[in-house]
Subunit: 125 residues, 6 copies
């Protein structure tokens, strides 16, 4: 029987990440279902359900962090989609990526922007 955190987390994952989130969870089932469960329970069940920050601001924070870290392009793409899903405009997302040139350097900002170019092309297709 699944607990409340899992149920709430799964609903929040659907709302934010849509199909992309479910594909990540699905792809973990064979190799490590507990990591799938923890990913739903802690980030989505515990954190993204909190009311103290709106989802748009949360996705701005996540896009900024993943662009700056620069070593997790698949997750960045999921959250570039998520940012658009929860109400960021394309222009706002680009500004966040652009701003990362200041804090993490131009290569990080360029790679973030190219990831967003892919995301926008995939959404059009």
């Amino acid at each position: 029987m699944k607990n409340t955190r899992f149920t709430l987390g799964l609903a929040q994952l659907s709302k934010i990440d849509g199909d992309a989130g479910h594909q990540v969870i699905e792809s973990l089932q064979e190799i490590c279902p507990d990591l799938a469960r923890f990913t739903i329970e802690y980030p989505f069940g515990d954190i993204y359900t909190r009311q103290a920050l709106d989802l748009k601001s949360r996705e701005i924070a996540t896009v900024a962090a993943l662009t700056a870290l620069g070593n997790c392009t698949p997750q960045l793409k999921v959250h570039l989609n998520a940012a658009l899903n929860v109400g960021c405009s394309e222009e706002e997302v680009k500004e966040v990526l652009l701003q990362m040139s200041v804090y993490a350097g131009f290569p990080a900002a360029l790679n973030g922007m190219f990831a967003f170019k892919d995301v926008l092309n995939e959404r059009k297709a």
Copy 2:
């Protein structure tokens, strides 16, 4: 003669970072005034003056990125102050820091939170 980017950047720096920003610039004058000038012109003159993203969202992005990178506490503290200066509530800043546990791990989130504790204590003093 200072150019427009410098003038606009200096005004934006004052608005966002207040005294803390000026102290950084001041402390660079002896060692490398050109880095002080570039810091005003590019981040503050070129980027933070753009209208496509509000300052509150910009500071959320910066706090998230610097917390995730985890190797630039002095700059993180400047921007934790800046986030409060441009309209983030204490609770919103804490949520951004908390959320970084998901993307950069608990040590990064803890160190960000302890930096914010210092900042809040300094603002009260």
Copy 3:
């Protein structure tokens, strides 16, 4: 009322980190008690209680990761203590730190070793 994950996590934290862990939790109470709770529930309640890997191996993994990341010395010190608490010998811990010269470079290994020097001195005091 505290949940089972919290109760189990707190017991595991005591077993592994001793006083140092409780000091971290305590120092979070004023600024963000929810981060304290999450730190107990997820890392210690969900992860460190799992049986599939012994605690000694878990601490070897944590010491290696924190040394390689190189930007979270306070947490590294907690886990250098923890490694000794759960049964690693001093020599084994030193080997892990030494080995990080291969994967994260000599500066990371040196800083890890100096942190361990501090930890050993504090334990003697």
Copy 4:
């Protein structure tokens, strides 16, 4: 004439990494044979031959560090194989990867787990 460190290192490389290690060394011969030699001499000749830590613990440390760094997937895959070669069970390796969600964030843990999925599939093929 090859020195002792090289000879011992090459034997240790064969024992730990098997064919994957030799392929890395081979692929360096054309571009920079000295880097191939140093890779055998220092990590494998000097470090992995030391008796103070067993090979299983060494691979746990290496898998943890490379997963946390997150920017060297090819080397992580070599050492995910190596961990299995020297006696880690699949479950133990998964626990190390899972635990990295705490210290380096969920994206790092997810990418490590997906790399392990690839490794397990390649070993079955």
Copy 5:
């Protein structure tokens, strides 16, 4: 009308990066022309035009930094080409990459060397 920084930067980009640099700029035009412009103005217009350090030393610094960071292979390849373009010998570039094993670990050095292998093959083709 383009400003002086842009004009100087574009000339410097051509001199250093050749076609590879222009392709990066071109690929940004659709998604974010302002990032293309900033990339020309600040790094190439403001920094690479300064006389206090020769271009060969600048490219040694850039190749070292990007190899150590390890999360921006496309930009590293552009600058491995650039290093050769401004007068580094192949041997000198290899030495810089080799030396990164000391400061960022063997995986970073290996990945840098494999990127250079690709670059040399592409230049021969």
Copy 6:
């Protein structure tokens, strides 16, 4: 009996890092003399003695990498001194640090510059 690599490495360490290098080695003797020995043998005995790149270029590479990584200030300070010791002018070192704003962001460049300010003050004292 010390081997040739150690003897050559120690001489090279003295030439490049002077007293600061010896202090690092000395401070390791109590906690882990083997790490002291490896630090002399591999970086200084194997790498810095190679003729294919001059010492000035080597220190430019090291200063760039350590500034970009941003998590090893003590080692950066040793190499900021070393850069001056082997013939870099103050202006050249500042240019390398300044240039890192492009590749690792302004916080990394600022922290590098403040470390250099400390180094210059210590050399005057």
